[in-house]
Amino acid sequence: MSDASTFEPKIVAYVCNWCTYLGADQAGTNRLEYPSNVRIVRLPCTGRIDFNLIIKALEMGADAVLVSGCHPGDCHYTAGNYHARRRWILFRSLLETMGIDLERIHFAWISAAEAKKFQQTITEITEKTRQMGPYEGYRRVCEAGV
């Protein structure tokens, strides 16, 4: 077991194109450093971020997943984030019943102007996941033979 300090967690962030992605971009232009552990995947809207993508990220070895988009009311498509919020509320109860670690699935509203919040969120998630170590649970699911 790699000890917590040298373990580099793999974080997958599904972000909406209009807000959080621009927030991340702004963090870059403002030279705000954030851990490179995060792999950013851009999607049109949180309404398009399918729950299967979260499962696919875990399948491919992610230790934590972030799903982030526009604050309620800011959605470029008016209601994408409202629909997404409902889905996340319901999906978390399913994940909880399945025994999938909710501490590794994060949801956030980060607007295009909140570069600072993006940096903080990624840094916090990376640190927290580093403490928790690799997500052995789902890895065992994926490597179990028949």
């Binding site: 399918d50 729950f51 299967n52 499962i55 696919k56 399948e59 982030s68 309620p72 209601a79 409202y82 629909h83 919020r85 409902r86 889905r87 996340w88 509320i89 319901l90 999906f91 978390r92 109860s93 399913l94 909880e96 019943t97 399945m98 025994g99 999938i100 670690d101 909710l102 994060h106 949801f107 956030a108 509203w109 969120t121 649970g137 065992r140 699911v141 994926c142 179990a144 033979g145 028949v146």
Partner: protein
């Protein structure tokens, strides 16, 4: 009640109000009960009603081969009727295109199934015609008992439980085919551009499949329990559906198939939806 059911169906067929009656039949007394399709008046004798009428017949309302038989009358229990309501809400048919025969139901299975012990719809509410009276008083409070017991287990133990249970899943899709809510022409698991879910029945593929199946029923599953009953691997799938049903009730006061007019939970939203986990 059986005589009354047969009389009703005979009349419906004779008057040409329906072309087929989707009901329950039994090949031999005491034998297993299974769905039957009565299209002629001389066949109504095949219709039965007893506490072994498990199938949720609403699943046939969206089947191409059955729709080809013409306007159906469908025999429903209270839980099946909730499925008819959800299908109507999801505009799978117009209500006047089907004739609903509601059966008063005191619960099926001996001993009674868990879902029946906690049933709140012993008397159908939206049927065109209701047969029989049930005086079993509706107690809906115990329906999440099994789920609460399961959720006592710590996180790692829950994952372990599902790893053992889903290791037996062979991906026969009986859970999908019996479910009235699973009526997609081409299921996501049958699509390959892209292949979202592994088709192999490895543990990884089974986790992805069962999570997808359960979540596609979020706010739609009426807890008829058929998926768990027919699973040849004996997996208690209803736990997954119950956890989503409870979340829909607790967060959005939404009960699938209980009221035609409240908009479906996933299809709608409210500005003031409450949550405590979004950063």
């Amino acid at each position: 009640m059986i005589e009354q059911l047969r009389e009703t169906c005979k009349r419906l067929l004779e008057e040409g109000k329906v072309n087929v009656v989707i009901g329950y039949g039994q090949d031999s007394p005491g034998g297993p009960v299974h769905p039957v399709f009565v299209t002629r008046t001389d066949q109504v004798g095949r219709l039965v009603w007893n506490d072994r009428c498990f199938n949720n017949l609403a699943t046939y309302l969206t089947r191409r081969d059955i729709k080809a038989l013409g306007k159906p009358a469908i025999v429903v229990k209270g839980c099946d009727e909730r499925a008819v309501i959800v299908l109507e809400q999801e505009s799978q048919f117009k209500r006047e295109d089907i004739y609903v025969i509601g059966m008063a139901c005191d619960g099926v299975g001996s001993p009674r199934l868990a879902k029946c012990a906690a049933c709140s719809v012993h008397m159908p509410r939206f049927a065109d015609e209701t047969i029989g009276v049930s005086n079993t008083e509706s107690t809906a409070d115990g329906r999440f008992a099994a789920l609460d017991a399961f959720l006592q287990k710590p996180l790692a133990e829950r994952l372990e439980y599902w790893m053992n249970e889903l290791a037996r899943c062979v991906k026969c899709y009986a859970c999908r085919e019996v479910c009235p809510m699973c009526y997609c022409n081409l299921c996501i698991v049958d699509k390959n551009r892209p292949t979202v879910l592994d088709t192999s029945a490895t543990l990884k593929g089974n986790f992805a499949w069962q999570i997808t199946r359960a979540f596609h029923q979020a706010g739609r599953c009426v807890s008829c329990g058929e998926c768990a009953r027919v699973c040849p691997a004996g997996i208690d799938l209803s736990l997954l559906n119950l956890s989503l049903a409870r979340a829909a009730e607790e967060h959005f006061a939404y009960h699938a198939g209980m009221d035609k007019d409240t908009p479906p939970v996933i299809g709608s939203y409210a500005l003031e939806d409450k949550e405590n986990f979004i950063l």
